[in-house]
């Protein structure tokens, strides 16, 4: 009897099952021989199936027929009919009997039979010994024989080993990065180049030529500051004959305030920053911008990344009392990180606070793990991780670090001396108020001659109150006190089904026991600082790698690990693991300095290669992934808009403060129920609306524009603005027709083209009959918009274009030449060359 035939015949299930049932059991491997593998099979395939299909009726909630299938003991014990599972013997296991539907009186699940594949999984599992590992809970790391349990690599009692076996422990990112010696034959090269060239040579390839200076300064300026170079900057660099002209340029750009603005924008993606709450009301968060400005400052000051981590996760635990320095004030502002998730302010109306709190805990856990560790904690919220060595309990152990987090809008961030000044001033005001009030009390309101005086004095009190100073506040967070509410493992991630309580703990695979946490202070558990210190440690295998990979991605369009928020099994493996590790170690040794990291990368020959020269003849699909060529990259939404503003001369200086609200189509506002409520003045002061600034005030860098969760700015949204609900590791760069419509036809785009025409025209009168003058206009336009001169062909095409369009606009009389120039500007701003970095 051929087995193969049955595998392809879905109608022969019964026979297939019988075949499996009566196969000699020696086919099944004994439990001792491959225990790890079988435990892994159970965790990956069997338990999810039992939980999805059986446990709702045979579990903690209900025990139909007296049966529970949520632990080995209860499954073996069985229900009223007898043992459900006889290890190694599917034929006598009621579970298998039930799922195969062979017995008309015992068919489970009753509503819908399992698929053939599922039946096979369970049958084979029983036959191979029904290996079972209890769901990983907070108790799994308990020391049961007196000796502490070590990491999963060295101790087979580690719960990760017990659940998954050792199969998942060869994940590349679990080992601490070690800097391998640089390839000796390239010792004269930049270290990055030695790693890259070694791989290239092995593939029979070499580096491409270095990009020309115009390309280099454009690429570097856009990469580091998110703005294109000006004509003057271009000219200065192109004509700089000094040997270190490039290094000087790098220095200049790293010290530019625009550097921090650009870097902050990318970090804000990672931490899902927005200025509003989301959900039904989507209220404005009036102080969120302080976190944005903090991030800009942190990058511009080159705050060491380990400190940056501690401040965001636990800034409040680093500061005692009123901040004494701006650095301390920044630590409080940094805790805005803990507040950035969505917030449904209407949840309380329907007693959904528990759901909201659970969502907040889950969001903080998932975002922190993605942002700093490249670990997908969201995947082990309902069950053990499907691919990585993370237990369901690990998700909740991680949550427990955040258990005490309490939103705070009343934390003063004014410094101690400012606070004293404010107090002194207010005390003076209070004194005056007291004296006014005493006069008030002396007056008799029944006497008509007093009425006027009473009015005056009452007004005076109000006036005085208004002169009181208020300290600066931040959108911050602290713990609710020295203790925190209990965190439980949630059955299938459901907040209404709590199971075992867990203590704060790092991933079990490294440290299965509870985390060491310093004794709590009056107002805080100290848990987040313990977490921050563990993350911001040179010993953490993920933190430095994840960050250097993000910075690498910024300069090449793709990371050494192509999935920057997933360093697990389902993510990509590093293309250049030694280079990644070398960079990570170097980054830590250089004091976690992000500016030094940028400098290291952009001064490499790898970075400075051309993106397209030498592209003929060689196999690009081999060349590009080995970094034998730079990548052509599209500007992201903000960089595109900022570039449009910059080249058209509209960009307004602006470097901090409350978000700027651009004008918004009325139709889009009318379509938002929450905004309508605000327009009608019925939002109870919750700021659900849209509060546009004047159009001139709006032409600022995009990082300063308001990010309203339920109403993204259409121009930016068209160019792949990410959702602000979860961490975004990498912008999409899709190419769709609505982008073309936006850049051709939107009122903003037309305005940019007109401004560019103004700028190019300058003081000149446009006379298209003057060949020299027309040529000069075109030269200026190319220089301004593309940072280069037109080729001879382009010059001629452009001049012909201008003359043709002047005819088209002849009805406009004297304005025709100018309208033709606007048309040309409009074409230029729509060029691929404008929207892409070479």
């Amino acid at each position: 009897m051929g087995v193969k035939r049955y595998l392809f015949d879905s109608n022969a299930v019964t026979s297939l099952i019988l075949f499996i049932l009566f196969l000699n059991c020696s086919f099944a491997v004994g439990p001792s021989a491959r225990a790890d593998e079988q435990i892994a099979n159970f965790a990956k395939n069997v338990r999810p199936l039992l939980e999805a299909k059986c446990v709702s009726c045979h579990g903690p909630e209900k025990q139909e027929g007296g049966l529970r299938l949520d632990s080995a003991t209860t499954a073996a014990k069985g229900g009223t009919l007898g043992p459900a599972v006889v290890p190694g013997d599917a034929e006598h296991s009621l579970l298998v009997k039930a799922i195969t539907f062979l017995d008309p009186d015992l068919q489970m699940p009753p509503k819908q039979k399992l698929s053939d594949r599922e039946i096979t999984i369970l049958t084979e599992w029983v036959n191979s010994g029904a290996a079972w590992s209890d769901a990983a809970t907070g108790h799994d790391h308990r020391v049961d024989d007196g000796s502490p349990i070590d990491d999963a690599f060295s101790d087979e009692r580690n719960p990760v080993r017990r659940v998954f076996g050792s199969e998942r422990l060869d994940l590349w990112s679990l080992r601490k990065p070690v800097a391998v010696p640089l390839p000796p034959e390239f010792s004269n090269l930049h270290p990055i180049d030695s790693f890259v060239l070694e791989r290239l040579r092995n593939a029979g390839l070499e580096f491409s030529t270095e990009a020309d200076r115009r390309t280099l300064i454009r690429r570097l300026t856009l990469d580091l500051t998110g703005l294109p170079p000006t004509s003057d900057e271009m000219a200065a660099f192109v004509h700089d004959k000094s040997p270190d002209a490039y290094e000087t340029l790098v220095d200049r750009l790293l010290s530019s305030p625009h550097y921090g603005e650009r870097q902050a924008r990318l970090w804000l993606d990672v931490v899902r920053y927005a200025d509003t709450n989301g959900y039904e009301r989507d209220e404005f968060r009036p102080l969120a911008w302080q976190y944005r400005d903090y991030v800009i400052r942190a990058f511009n000051q080159d705050k060491p990344f380990d400190q940056f981590i501690r401040e965001q996760l636990a800034g409040d635990e680093l500061v005692e009392g009123t901040p004494e320095t701006t650095a301390e004030a920044d630590m409080l502002i940094a805790t805005g990180f803990l507040r950035l998730g969505q917030w449904d302010s209407t949840a309380s109306i329907f007693q959904e606070e528990d759901r909201l709190r659970a969502e907040m805990m889950s969001d903080l856990t998932n975002t922190t793990a993605s942002a700093f560790l490249g670990m997908t904690m969201s995947c082990c919220q309902c069950h053990d991780h499907k691919y990585d060595p993370l237990l369901q309990a690990d998700h909740y152990r991680f949550r427990a670090f955040f258990a005490g987090v309490t939103p705070r809008d009343d934390l003063a961030i004014s410094l101690a001396n400012e606070q004293a000044e404010i107090d002194r001033h207010n005390a003076g005001v209070d004194q005056q108020i007291t004296s006014v009030k005493s006069e008030l009390e002396s007056l008799d309101s029944n006497q008509s001659e007093s009425t006027q005086r009473i009015e005056e004095l009452t007004t005076r009190v109000a006036e005085l109150e208004a002169t009181k100073l208020a300290p600066g506040m931040a959108m911050a967070a602290t713990d609710s006190g020295p203790t925190a509410p209990a965190i439980h493992v949630l059955y299938q991630g459901d907040f209404s089904s709590p199971r075992e309580e867990v203590s704060p703990g790092f991933v079990s695979l490294f440290t299965p026991g509870p985390a060491d946490i310093d004794p709590p202070r009056d107002n805080t558990t100290g848990r987040r600082l313990a977490l921050a210190n563990w993350i911001a440690s040179a010993d953490n295998p993920w933190t430095a790698r994840v960050l250097v990979n993000r910075i690498w991605q910024q300069h090449f369009g793709i990371g050494l690990v192509a999935t920057p928020n997933d360093f697990g099994y389902s993510g990509e493996r590093p293309t250049h693991p030694e280079l990644l590790d070398w960079l990570a170690v170097e980054f830590i040794e250089r004091g976690w300095s992000i500016k030094e990291l940028h400098r290291l990368i952009v001064t490499s020959a790898t970075y400075r290669q051309s993106s397209f020269e030498d592209s003929s003849g060689t196999d690009l699909s081999a060349r590009r992934p080995l970094y034998g060529m730079q990548n052509v990259r599209r500007l992201d939404a903000e960089t595109l808009r900022d570039s449009l503003l910059a080249v058209s001369g509209l960009l307004q200086p602006h470097d901090a403060g409350k978000p700027v609200w651009p004008p918004m189509e009325d139709e889009l506002l009318q379509a938002q129920p929450a905004v309508l409520e605000a327009i009608e003045g019925k939002d109870g002061g919750r700021m659900q609306g849209w509060y546009p600034d004047s159009i001139e005030a709006t032409d600022v860098r995009s990082v300063f524009l308001v990010r309203k969760r339920c109403l993204p700015i259409p121009f930016l949204q068209a160019f792949d603005l990410p959702e602000t609900t979860v961490s975004c590791a990498r912008r999409d760069t899709t190419v769709v027709a609505p982008q073309a419509l936006m850049l051709l036809n939107s009122p903003d785009s037309v305005r940019y083209a007109q401004a560019l025409a103004d700028r190019v025209q300058g003081e000149q009168t446009i006379d298209l009959d003057d060949a020299v003058g027309s040529g000069r206009l075109v030269e200026t336009l190319f220089d301004t918009a593309l940072n280069r001169s037109p080729t001879g062909d382009e010059l001629q095409l452009s001049i012909e274009f201008l003359q043709r369009h002047r005819v088209q606009h002849q009805d406009a009389g004297a304005e025709a030449g100018r309208l033709a120039l606007v048309d040309l500007c409009r074409a230029m701003l729509n060029l691929n060359e404008f929207a892409y970095i070479d």
């Binding site: 329907f350 389902s570 592209s615 379509a671 190419v735 892409y836």
Partner: protein, 480 residues
């Protein structure tokens, strides 16, 4: 769809990426199955793709009922509620086993029947309230599911759930998933079109493509004026649009030719041509004057009730859109921020919304049928939840996620069927209880898509409209 997604991603950077990496090692049978699927061409994201199996429906019109309609005042006849009008909630139904909270606290302990007369209609003899005289004529076409429940009592989470499969915002919407899976039938129009005056509570997250490529984002078609925002250039550029584009494309082609292998550059050149073609095609669709006066009147376009005329325009536009090959059209009925959300004076809300929507929806069903489109067009009528049989405030009804009715029509569903039931007062789904994910699974199945095989890898997770694999079932009885 993991393979196609990676491919997109690679071409986007211009970096070919040979490493198959771990995916092969980890390939479980699910991933192996998806290898059979057609890959998505990043330059033609809307190109038509084959479904996983033979579909019953080719396109969808989703008539979203904003605010939560009171479905037992419309279709789910509850004589006991009428009998118990003014009485407290029966003790047997008072105990609150519901996970989702809050509903009882805001209501009086007093049942309230609507004032409308009910009568039987169609061959199936089903009860329909006098609020829906036109829909009643189509009752034999509808497949009603009277036992839906939602997972939040609150508008935004429940609206997200109905539109994206999750109560948290940030997931791709149903329309995005469908066009991601199937592409569209007309390359000159968006594949997923929205029609609304006031969109759903919770904003644009309800029609977001989220982590799916932007080609699958919902595009709003306006019911008046230029049908798509920025579709046409300002007047002064109208005559020079082609010539301006030609200049840019000449330079673009030279630029792309110097950079072989960077497919994005070719894609962007193509996107400008598509945008240009879209200008004329979309304009044509918006030309409702091309319809006969009879059709216009059937949809209520000239009705004195301006709200009905508006919704009629949306319904007529939706037929014109699917006729031209748009895969997924979604309408939001509300004209203000109130919709069906009748916390006070529910009678008034029901009267207004029924008057606005009943005739146009009936006209749409008639029109689709006459044109032979109904068999292959799945029409969905659903709000985010229902309302309480208990009175709230002054004659109002509170949100009720515990049990409500939706209906499907066309697209291979069993005409005239009634599936599931609420309890005797319409408070909770009581028979064949259906979560929203089952509705989504049913819709995908009608389109020939296996809900488990329609996924996208995001932040290390296989994301699906219907969540964890095999955690859903199609609503039994919808397909006969």
């Amino acid at each position: 769809m993991i393979h196609q997604q990676r491919r997109t991603f690679l071409t986007q950077t211009g970096a070919g990426f040979a490493s198959v990496a771990l995916s092969a090692l980890l390939a479980d049978s699910l991933k192996a199955e998806t290898a059979k699927q057609q890959t998505m061409d990043p330059l033609q994201p809307l190109a038509e793709r084959l479904p996983h199996f033979a579909p019953k429906a080719k396109r969808v019109i989703f008539l979203f009922q904003y605010g939560g309609p009171s479905t037992f005042d419309l279709l789910d006849y509850k004589p006991d509620l009428i009998r118990l009008h003014g009485q407290p909630v029966p003790a047997s139904l008072r105990a609150n086993p519901d996970k989702v909270g809050g509903v009882f606290n805001h209501c009086k302990d007093e049942l309230m029947a609507g004032p409308w007369r009910w009568s039987r209609h169609g061959q199936s003899g089903q009860w329909v309230s006098e609020l829906l005289p036109h829909t009643a004529l189509h009752i034999d076409e509808l497949c009603q599911v009277r036992s839906m429940y939602s997972e939040s009592s609150n508008h935004a989470p429940a609206t997200y759930l109905m539109n994206t499969g999750a109560i948290l915002s940030g997931k791709p919407s149903l329309g995005s998933w469908v066009t991601y899976g199937l592409g569209s039938l007309n390359q000159n129009l968006p594949g997923f079109v929205l029609l609304y005056k006031v969109g759903g509570l919770g904003g644009s997250a309800n029609w977001s493509n989220s982590f799916l490529p932007a080609a699958f984002q919902g595009t709003q078609f306006r019911h008046e004026g230029s049908p798509v925002l920025n579709l046409q250039p300002p007047q002064e550029f109208a005559g020079v649009q082609r010539s301006t584009l030609d200049f840019a494309q000449t330079l673009n082609r030279k630029h792309a030719a110097a950079r072989p292998g960077v497919l994005d550059l070719d894609g962007r050149i193509a996107s400008y041509e598509l945008a240009y073609r879209m200008q004329s095609e979309a304009l044509d669709i918006g030309e409702l004057s091309l319809e006969t006066r009879e059709t216009q009147d059937a949809y209520g376009l000239h009705d004195d009730n301006k709200d009905k005329a508006l919704f009629g325009r949306m319904c007529l536009l939706s037929r014109r859109l699917v006729e031209k090959g748009v895969r997924f059209v979604q309408l939001y009925n509300a004209v203000d921020k109130l919709g069906w959300d009748g916390h006070d004076n529910n009678t008034d809300y029901n009267t207004r919304n029924a008057a606005q929507t009943d005739q146009p929806i009936a006209a749409l069903l008639t029109d689709l049928k006459q044109r032979g489109l109904l068999d292959t067009t799945l029409v969905i009528w659903a709000g985010e939840f229902g309302r309480t049989p208990m009175m709230q405030g002054n004659g109002g009804r509170n949100h009720n996620p515990y049990g409500f009715t939706i209906w499907l029509a066309g697209g291979g569903v069993r005409a005239g069927a009634v599936i599931g039931a609420t309890d005797e007062i319409g408070l909770r789904a009581a028979e064949e209880i259906q979560p929203v994910k089952n509705l989504h699974a049913t819709i995908l199945t009608a389109l020939g898509l296996n809900p488990d095989d329609l996924f996208s890898e995001h932040n290390g997770r296989q994301e699906r409209l219907t969540g964890v694999a095999k955690s859903w079932e199609t609503i039994p009885g919808v397909f006969g």
